[in-house]
């Protein structure tokens, strides 16, 4: 009925006593998330929104059996916090911080891969299974976006996700699980790595992929479809079709350089394997209806 997170997932909040951490803990609880504990070194014994705070993730996991963790930790300390969660055996981690150094992200990704864990982010709103739970910073209260349903959404953006998802919702659909992989040049989890999860999930009937210029993540999705790793219908919207080459367009990962990462290339690769590619947000609804009918 969902991937990555549902209302059973026992979530830890690292950096829970900070402004962002406590604010979003309230909202995560508010949308149904089973937040079992928080971690801030030196603040053990406190409570945030009724959630107990621990000094270390190891201790928090021992006491709460948490199996997921969302980080509200500044970029400079993100690598350490992720390593701490991985070391404590946590297999699902969301990094919201924007500005994690690329070398740190590479180390995080390498560590996660070697430990068969999944780290989502950085620079992401996180993961939400509407109506059930979320790890991150979604305005889940916007009903015309975060409505439960059967579309698995994977995205590199924040606001654009609302813009595009709203178009699908308007066409009568809802979301199973929405995963923001983040806008960094080294996302710790890549689009294609989510596909096996969506493929297995009975609650997901189609995918809406919201990509953009730069990198090769959309091309990897096309490859996965080609290899039949993923077989459900997919609609894609890729931003930055008319972006000039060589400019970093907002996100660290949104840049076309040396001819690599162009939206035209991505669209070609996706259309070749039967993905319905919308040229603008308003095209997403009709294409989604077409995809579902397939």
């Amino acid at each position: 009925m969902s991937i990555f997170i549902d209302s059973e997932t026992k979530v830890l909040v690292q950096g829970i006593t900070g402004n962002e951490g406590s604010f979003w803990t309230k909202h995560m609880l508010g949308c149904g998330t089973h937040v079992v504990g928080g971690v801030t070194p030196g603040k053990a014994g406190q409570q945030v929104e009724g959630v107990p705070v621990f000094n270390t993730v190891r201790k928090a996991v021992a006491e709460t059996k948490a199996d997921a963790s969302v980080l509200f930790v500044p970029p400079a300390f993100t690598k350490d916090a992720v390593f701490e969660a991985l070391d404590a055996g946590i297999g699902k981690i969301v990094v919201t911080a924007e500005g994690v150094p690329v070398h740190d992200a590479m180390e995080i990704r390498a560590a996660a891969l070697s430990e068969k864990a999944m780290v989502i982010g950085g620079n992401t709103s996180g993961v939400i299974t509407p109506g059930k739970a979320m790890m991150g910073i979604f305005p889940y209260w916007i009903d015309r976006v975060y409505r439960p349903g059967t579309i698995g959404v994977m995205t590199r953006s924040g606001s654009l996700t609302n813009e595009v998802t709203a178009m699908a919702i308007k066409a009568g659909f809802g979301v199973s699980t929405l995963v923001g992989v983040g806008g960094d040049s080294v996302p710790c989890t890549r689009f294609a790595e989510l596909l096996p999860l969506y493929e297995k999930d009975d609650g997901t009937k189609t995918i809406l992929m919201i990509g953009e210029l730069g990198g090769t993540m959309e091309e990897e999705v096309a490859e996965a479809i080609e290899m039949r790793v993923f077989t459900k219908p997919m609609v894609a919207f890729i931003a930055g079709r008319t972006a000039p080459s060589g400019k970093r367009m907002g996100h660290a990962g949104a840049i076309v350089s040396g001819g690599k990462g162009s939206v035209a290339g991505k669209i070609k690769a996706l259309e070749n394997v039967g993905v319905f590619v919308a040229d603008r947000p308003s095209a997403v609804g009709p294409l989604m209806q077409k995809a579902v009918a397939k």
Binding site: R156, S159, V186, T216, G240, M249, H251, P281
Partner: protein, 373 residues
């Protein structure tokens, strides 16, 4: 952040990577001394970040002092180049490409090398992919000697050149690690006729996100094409300047890119790109101030469900307008929680709230072409 060639070479020299004899000049008056220092013939290299400097005439070879002075004058005065790097001209036996960069899929450091130095690696990749030697260095592992050998054998180096190359690559890798680099590139690495390997050019790009621990090279005005871009960068507001008519103020990079596309679809043109999502939503006045510098025909504001409530964003914009009194018309599509309140706030200031992004874009394009307000 890209470093200038002279900065890259400063790092190379410190690390022990051989670089040509060189002298950096910022005033025309110092050119003669620079030529004296590096000798003749010499190469005069404009210290600008744009690619293809050779083809653009920004790198000049001079045989005599007079020629060198003349060419330097041309670059500094006529081409408006602020800094010139004078270097000894090297005899070339062979040109090599060698770089350390990142592989985000494998999350490893990626060494690329080619015996076809001088060419862009992308061109080599297309024309003669066999000529590229790739070596991946796993995160958490050091660069192993065997990997250095793989690269040097792959380049076909022998004897002394092999040995020199085998000392240069580990130093590049060290710089890559130490400076949080996204790229450390030497192209060409020249094998001189007298058997030395020398880094004739150097590109180093440092991860902007690592700024908190990489403070050696601050951003400067020289890194940007315009004063406004520099100012925005200092303020931490993503901003790009173009030469069209519609200034974008959008929340979220993806949404901004989408609006950018839509403007082009509808035949409009973009004056500037500004993203004020995330933590910048409280800085509407600053953002609008930057946006108005390029004298846009229209300002187009698009947001959808940010961390801030729509009404808070609307109020920020209204306040900014009151403060800056822009002459350009303003189109707004501010959606998300509190959008009704937001609409009310905007209307009070005489702005028409639009709920559909494409509708807002169409309106902006019309206005930018002189359509009715």
């Amino acid at each position: 952040m890209k470093l200038f060639e002279y900065q890259a070479k400063e790092l190379f020299a410190e690390a022990g990577i051989p670089v040509p004899k060189g002298a950096l000049v910022e005033n025309e008056a110092d050119c003669a001394a620079a030529i004296e220092k590096v000798g003749l013939p010499c190469v005069i290299k404009s210290q600008v970040l744009q690619g293809g400097r050779g083809k653009a005439g920004l790198i000049q070879l001079a045989e005599t002092k007079e020629e060198a002075l003349l060419k330097a004058h041309d670059l500094m005065v006529n081409r408006n180049v602020g800094k010139l790097l004078f270097e000894e001209a090297l005899s070339k036996e062979k040109e090599i490409y060698i770089a350390v960069t990142i592989d985000p899929v494998d999350s490893s450091a990626l060494i690329m090398a080619s015996s076809e130095g001088g060419m862009e690696i992308e061109e080599v990749a297309v024309k003669m992919p066999d000529k590229i030697v790739k070596e991946r260095v796993k995160m958490f592992r050091a660069l192993s000697p065997f990997q250095v050998r793989n690269v040097m054998f792959g380049l076909g180096l022998k004897g002394e050149a092999f040995k020199q190359g085998a000392t240069i690559l580990p130093k590049m890798f060290e710089l890559f690690k130490k400076f949080d680099a996204e790229l450390v590139e030497i192209n060409p690495l020249i094998l001189t006729k007298d058997g030395r390997l020398v880094a004739a050019d150097g590109k180093v790009s440092i991860d902007d996100n690592a700024g908190f621990r990489q403070k050696r090279f601050p951003i400067t005005r020289d890194h940007f094409d315009s004063d406004v871009e520099y100012e925005a960068a200092v303020k931490g507001i993503p901003y790009l300047q173009f030469d069209g008519k519609i200034a974008l103020m959008c929340a979220g990079a993806g949404l901004t890119n989408t609006v950018y596309d839509l403007i082009n679809y509808y035949g409009g043109s973009v004056a500037s790109y500004l993203e004020f999502g995330g933590p910048n939503y409280r800085r509407a006045a600053e953002a609008m101030d930057l946006t108005l510098r390029n004298k846009p025909a229209v300002v187009l504001i698009v947001t959808f469900g940010t961390i801030a409530r729509a009404d808070v964003m609307a109020q920020g914009i209204v306040d900014a307008i009151a403060q800056l009194k822009p002459s350009a018309p303003i189109i707004t599509a501010i959606r998300g929680t509190g959008e009704e309140e937001a609409a009310a706030i905007l209307k009070k200031t005489g702005l028409e709230p639009i709920s559909d992004t494409e509708e807002a874009v169409k309106r902006a394009v019309e206005l930018s072409k002189g359509g009715a307000r």
